[in-house]
């Protein structure tokens, strides 16, 4: 059994992109976009620092791909403006077409040209006339780029369809890097890959981009991918950015309940908040920056609720799901002593069923009573009604 850790969770790093907007590489201001009568983007503001990595994450249909296509220059914004390196590229009468924006773009399926070899694909954006040494220099650059994405130079002679999905994505990245773009746009580039390959490819891509120092924007619907890839996460919902911040902050302190539930499993409990202490079925839990007083909804991540022999809270196991490395346990909470005694507390909870995780399947069987302890702070949301 794990020894419960009572230490506080570490303080979040503050991403440079959150701290300063003056040194931004990409600045998006009040951008809207409609397709016919459907509003896809409803006023988006986003700032991305030079060299930073930003993930735009949201459910499908939230407008994140449209935002990326506006940045790339494949679509015009209806209103608002986009500037790159302080130069207006769209909006307010300005328009710089995609091919003049110095942007790298990697599409979902790689979008490799099927009629060209891998080498010709990578060399597509290179201009032999401008490169010193002409065609030989192009071949050398192609080999260098392929090596950069950990592909063998002999791959250059193959056709895209002869490569695996992960290899295709790396070729697409090499092709986009060939022109040394200042900004790299990745449109769900890993979603077509199977689970194991996805993680490996994501790491390889992140490493290459970090070494090249390219400002990167990743669009994804996979929250785990967004949290692990980026140093700034922008959560998109219904055509707006619901929250922007570093991964740790948006995960542990989401701005609202929908964001909380989108970014990961969440335990939501009714609670009564006084000062910075919330009382609920899990007892008294500290809340950082209380948004309201009185009745609130309290959000905890399942990993904050640990099974501990000396834990003050008790719950009865309802059922479990075994996943191998960990087990999901559904527990019905008992009403805590101090809450039951102080009937004047106007907290509405008691007897809720919550879901937590544990590595040891043998300690949780339906009907067993377990002791729990809460680690860290909770986030409170005002009650929506």
């Amino acid at each position: 059994m794990t020894a419960p850790s009572t230490r506080r969770l570490p303080e979040p790093r503050v991403a440079p992109s959150v701290a300063a907007t003056t040194n931004s590489h990409l600045q998006i201001t009040d951008v809207t976009k409609n397709f016919g009568s459907q509003a896809v983007l409803k006023g988006v503001n986003l700032s991305v620092a030079k060299g930073g990595t930003t993930a735009i994450v949201g459910p499908s249909g939230s407008g994140k791909t449209t935002l990326l296509r506006l940045i790339a220059g494949f679509e015009h914004p209806d209103t608002g403006s986009i500037s790159l390196n302080g130069t207006l590229v769209a909006g307010e009468g300005a328009w710089l077409p995609a091919h003049k924006r110095q942007i790298g773009y990697v599409a979902q399926d790689g979008a490799l040209f099927p009629h060209l070899t891998v080498g010709q694909n990578v060399a597509f954006g290179l201009n032999p006339a401008k490169l010193e040494g002409g065609r030989r220099a192009v071949a050398a650059r192609v080999a260098e780029l392929l090596e950069m994405v950990s592909l063998d130079a002999s791959m250059a002679k193959r056709r895209p369809h002869q490569l695996s999905g992960g290899q295709q994505q790396r070729v697409a990245l090499a092709r986009a890097l060939a022109r040394e773009p200042e900004l790299m746009l990745l449109d769900e580039p890993f979603s077509a890959l199977d689970a194991g390959l996805r993680v490996a490819t994501r790491r390889a891509v992140a490493k290459v981009l970090a070494e090249a120092g390219v400002t990167t924007i990743l669009v994804t619907h996979d929250q785990a991918e967004a949290l692990s890839f980026a140093d700034q996460v922008a959560v998109m919902r219904g055509g707006k950015l619901a929250q922007i911040g570093n991964p740790f902050v948006v995960y542990t302190r989401p701005a609202d309940r929908a964001t909380a539930e989108f970014l990961g499993d969440a335990v939501i409990l009714d609670a009564w908040l006084e000062g910075s202490l919330a009382t609920c079925s899990l007892g008294g839990i500290p809340v950082r920056r209380p948004p309201a007083q009185g009745r609130v909804q309290l959000m905890l991540r399942p990993e904050q609720i640990r099974i501990a022999e000396d834990g003050p809270i008790r719950g009865v196991v309802v059922d479990t799901d075994y996943f191998g490395p960990e087990t999901t346990v559904r527990l019905k909470l008992n009403v805590p002593q101090e809450v039951a005694e102080h009937a004047d507390h106007r907290y509405p909870g008691g007897g809720e069923v919550i879901t937590i995780r544990h590595w040891n399947a043998s300690i949780a069987r339906p009907g067993m009573e377990l002791c729990l302890r809460v680690v860290g702070e909770a986030v409170a949301f005002p009650v929506e009604d």
Binding site: F35, T66, H76, P77, P97, G125, A178, R179
Partner: protein, 529 residues
């Protein structure tokens, strides 16, 4: 990514749309304008018929249409269609079922042989049958020859659909207690509905449009009557009214096809890989099936080929007169090449809009194309004769008008191929090229055009070979003195110089063989979409 066509509405609300530097994404408006012009041009034949009907005046029109002669033609045409279409459906489905769903011996050879009669132009088939049985004539012969010429138009789509049909559907029917025969009628046949109505429409349109095959056996239909009228009175009201009735029947067929198509879904539902079809063992029926197919292909393909070769042998070296033969071959090649290139160029904007900008706009363009594709060659030719004489006398009987008629007649063939080709070149590739620093036009040429090239070549080949066999419009529109393989064949066989006509017939069959094979292969791919 959703696309929309309300470009003007969109730009009126955007600040980025003002000024001269911001431009709409490449070519949307230019392509749309082009496509509209092409659609308008393609409606010339229909517009001509409508205009002529109105210009003739109600009383004259009624008088010209309500004649015993028209009634006679009507009876001929209706009886021809009423007999030929069901016969074609029967032969086509039977052949397709034997090849695709039974353990027929040599089914791979039969699969190709059953499509082979398409390589013999109907008027060559007629010529062969008249050679075999000189007394042929009338409705019965018309039904015989057209059934043998056109049943592959049903066989090809039916075979394609059967080969793609999920056998799990039949297995489900079996699990629900249906025997093989009842499963065929209650489950398989309904799945063939689109293929069968489409095939029946094609057969019907061919029956209405065919001139040579019926003229050869002195069987009168609207098309042969219009030609006769045209020869005697050039451009009389009587001929125009016959054309109106003919077009009315073509449109009627279109509507009937759309109606009977229904709204049910026939594509495969669900994911996963389709299992291989189970084949029904024929057992004792193996021999009758072989005899049936042998007889069918012998009559439809063997007989024409045999008589063409017989005439060639009989004619000896005399019939290969280079001074007549070479100019016809050269003219055919020349018109084929120019017509094919022009058709593909004209089809491109249409295909581009249909694939990249689907919506009501491209739908209505397709509808106009669909209507045009049903126009018989004789009507297109008459329309072009009249319009060129009245509007631009200078272009009458020039090569340009003939090529324009070819473009209209064979646009659908190129469109099918181009659409499939463009679907292989998604716009994401264009955008990838733009993101790599290529201006939109360069990106379009180096990616989209390059990727569409094979499909365009395939479409051009089909159009080329169709032009090589085209008779009706070529007879009316070709410049004085111009002879093609088809017209030369026609003039020789009209003079009963059957031996002299044989080399032209052989060349047309040889040219059509690859086209037939292309169509056959293409149908297998298209059926899956």
């Amino acid at each position: 990514m959703t696309t929309d066509l309300s470009a003007p509405a969109r730009r009126s609300t955007t600040t980025a749309g003002r000024g001269n530097s911001p431009r709409p994404p490449f070519g949307v408006s230019a392509v749309s304008v082009l496509a509209v012009l092409i659609a308008l041009f393609s409606l010339v034949p229909l517009g001509y018929v409508a205009y002529m009907t109105v210009a003739t005046g109600w009383d004259t029109a009624v008088a010209l249409i309500m004649r015993p002669r028209v009634g006679e033609l009507l009876v001929n045409t209706l009886l021809l269609m009423a007999a030929t279409i069901p016969l074609c459906l029967l032969l086509g489905v039977a052949g397709a079922w034997l090849v695709e769903r039974t353990n027929l011996r040599g089914r791979r050879v039969w699969a190709v042989l059953l499509a082979a009669p398409l390589a013999v132009p109907a008027f060559v088939n007629s010529y062969a049958w008249v050679s075999a049985v000189p007394s042929l004539g009338g409705l019965g012969s018309g039904i015989l020859i057209s059934t043998l010429s056109y049943f592959p138009l049903v066989y090809i789509p039916a075979a394609a659909t059967l080969s793609r049909l999920d056998p799990a559907i039949e297995q489900s029917a079996a699990a629900l207690g249906l025997g093989a025969w009842r499963a065929f009628f209650r489950v398989v046949l309904p799945q063939l509905r689109i293929a069968l109505t489409g095939g029946a429409l094609l057969v019907g349109l061919h029956l209405l449009a065919e001139y040579g095959a019926f003229a050869m056996i002195r069987f009168d239909t609207f098309t042969t009557a219009i030609m006769t009228q045209y020869r005697s009175t050039f451009n009389g009201a009587a001929g125009n009214m016959l054309a109106s009735v003919l077009v009315f029947f073509c449109l009627l067929l279109l509507v009937a096809e759309v109606r009977s198509r229904g709204t049910a879904r026939y594509a495969r539902i669900g994911s996963g890989v389709q299992a291989k079809a189970l084949r029904l063992p024929l057992h004792a029926y193996q021999v009758p099936a072989q005899v049936f197919l042998l007889a069918l292909t012998a009559l439809a393909f063997g007989l024409p080929l045999y008589y063409v070769l017989k005439w060639i042998v009989a004619g000896g070296a005399d019939i290969w007169t280079a001074s007549e033969f070479l100019p016809a071959l050269l003219a055919t090649f020349w018109y084929g090449l120019v017509g094919a290139a022009a058709t593909v160029v004209v089809a491109f904007p249409m295909a581009y809009l249909a694939v990249r900008k689907p919506g009501w706009f491209s739908k209505s363009l397709e509808l106009s194309n669909y209507v045009t594709s049903s126009m018989p060659g004789i009507v297109v030719a008459l329309a072009f004769v009249t319009v060129s004489i009245r509007v631009m006398p200078g272009i009458y009987q020039t090569a340009g008008v003939l090529v324009a008629a070819y473009v209209l007649l064979f646009l659908p063939r190129a469109l099918v191929n181009l659409r499939a080709g463009l679907a292989q070149a998604p716009k994401e590739l264009d955008e990838a090229a733009q993101a790599l620093g290529k201006p939109p036009l360069t990106a379009f040429i180096r990616v989209t055009l390059r990727l569409t090239a094979p499909a365009a070549a395939g479409g051009a080949a089909l159009v080329f070979l169709a032009i090589a066999n085209e008779l009706t419009a070529t007879l009316l529109l070709s410049p004085n003195g111009t002879k093609t393989l088809a017209t030369e064949f026609w003039s020789k066989s009209s003079e009963i110089d059957y031996a002299g006509a044989a080399p032209y017939a052989l060349l047309m069959i040889l040219l059509s063989a690859p086209m037939t094979y292309l169509l056959f292969q293409q149908s297998k791919k298209v059926a899956g979409q």
